[in-house]
Subunit: 271 residues, 2 copies
DNA sequence: CACATCATGAGGTCTAGACCAGTCTTCGTG
DNA sequence: CACGAAGACTGGTCTAGACCTCATGATGTG
């Protein structure tokens, strides 16, 4: 059973949700119908609204599809439909490759302007700075540079550079929960081309990423990937208009108390 | 009033939803609280579950944020938080540029293998083929190649190439509703470099996109953007595990009736 | 003055029904 | 046998309450 995380004492809709999640992953295939809402009502001894709350959650996640008059069905996996905050290591393993890393640099320094801006900090704020060569099955894939404010994780690099910076941040209660990334293509610099052992082609894919935990920026990172070995898959949603909140009129003295708005990602050289 | 689309006779939760949407766009700023659920209950003479249904919808869309014990607030615009199916023209205008296009080629031909695969059709199926140079404020930005099955829109190119292929498809009832894109970086070919008037740098960003309307692939397109003038912004969500339905055991004779599963995007040269 | 307590009011979960609106099957009837 | 109506499903919307947890500000006390 995959009921994990929703023990008996917990909320009832979570129990129903866990049951359905288990059904989907172990019993049903794409297109199959789940039990009707009324039958789940009896099975769990809960009201229909509670059953619907459980199903609603899975419909929102894209796992199920409702069809009035017919039933509720297992939805086809639409890729992910959202880019995820994954790490190089996770990505590599997902593709069946063995990730590796060589630390090229590891230091603490005052944040230069572009880094400070990306992290919503003052210029000169102490930051950890790590440069690594990332490999997959031993082949160089990218040169990756990361900056993390020292005050968020003072002991981050005490035992050397951790395999996964994200995992290390998570251990310190700084869950990376969302981010934004800017992707460009460029000719690699001579140093990059050498590190990546690129001979004939010169094109690299550059990414600049801001990672947020809650409302605070916890990490800024830049990477250059071998253009001939790396690609990004982006699922696209329909372009429907979005509600835009009214912009607050200038009110001197008014504090929004909402830091870390998404915005421009600095691209300029951080050194 | 922005109540449009939710007339009095319609569902009550839509009336509440429309009221809140109007509030957000005309009265409230980011971080402001909306009226409490119980006060909305009285204002509209509906039950609390109905009010919650309206709020839930806006929370799911990312417009509002709940906070137990405190209230429900206007959420900061997290970029889009999903890549959208936009066209070159829309993107350019959004960035304040004037889009332009020069048709380099326009023909009908039998689909080569990679194109046929991308469109879920037989090799040789007749497809429209359009190659255009896209400009912004007169500057070359990308070379874009599109393939569309002829049977979906036989008269698509009768009056010349339309400004927007997406708009032309929409007019024929083929709403592009989702898609998937593969992004790579590469050295531009000599022809690309000449079309794009690239002198010093050679890196281009290549995209290969499958566009779907409903469950059928309606268009396959490939584009090469000037690496020094183009970038892609990608919002990233938290990396939480996704439910994967059980794979259907081989059942000869069983029909899923579910075409157009997302999958690999062909990258090889289509000519 | 500082701090613990408590009342208030916010959202979170849940019930036991109701009627509406599609879909599909089944069973007469012509 | 063909076809249409009826019934038996499905999910969609909605009510009028209930009790819970959590955040906050007022209040009283040491």
């Amino acid at each position: 059973m995959v009921t994990g995380g929703a023990r008996a004492g917990a909320h009832k809709y979570l129990a129903v949700r866990a049951y359905l999640a288990d059904l989907v992953t172990t019993e049903l295939a794409v297109g199959d119908a789940i039990p009707s809402e009324r039958s789940l009502t009896e099975k769990f001894g809960v009201s229909r609204m509670t059953v619907r709350q459980a199903i609603d959650a899975l419909v929102t996640e894209g796992v199920l599809e409702r069809a009035q008059g017919r039933g509720t069905f297992v939805a086809p996996p639409r890729a992910d439909f959202e880019m995820r905050l994954t790490t190089f290591g996770e990505e590599a393993r997902r593709r069946g490759l063995t990730p590796g890393a060589t630390v090229l640099r590891c230091e603490e320094l005052p944040a230069p302007a572009p880094v400070a801006e990306a992290l919503d900090r003052e210029v000169g704020t102490p930051v950890h700075h790590v440069v690594r060569l990332r490999t997959a099955d031993g082949n160089p894939m990218s040169v990756e540079e990361s900056w993390i404010p020292v005050d968020l994780a003072p002991d981050l690099l005490e035992d050397g550079v951790p395999d996964s910076l994200y995992a290390a941040l998570r251990e310190r209660g700084l869950d990376p929960s969302w981010g934004e990334e800017l992707i460009t293509a460029a000719d690699g610099t001579p140093e990059e081309l050498e590190s990546l052992q690129m001979q004939t082609s010169r094109a690299v894919m550059r990414t600049a990423r801001r990672t947020f935990g809650g409302d605070a920026a916890v990490m800024y990172s830049r990477a250059s990937y071998r253009g001939d070995r790396y690609s990004v898959f982006v699922p696209l949603r329909e372009a429907r208009p979005t509600l835009v909140p009214r912009t607050r009129p200038a009110e001197p003295g008014a504090e929004t108390g909402r830091p870390a708005q998404p915005g421009r990602i600095p691209e300029g050289s951080p050194r």
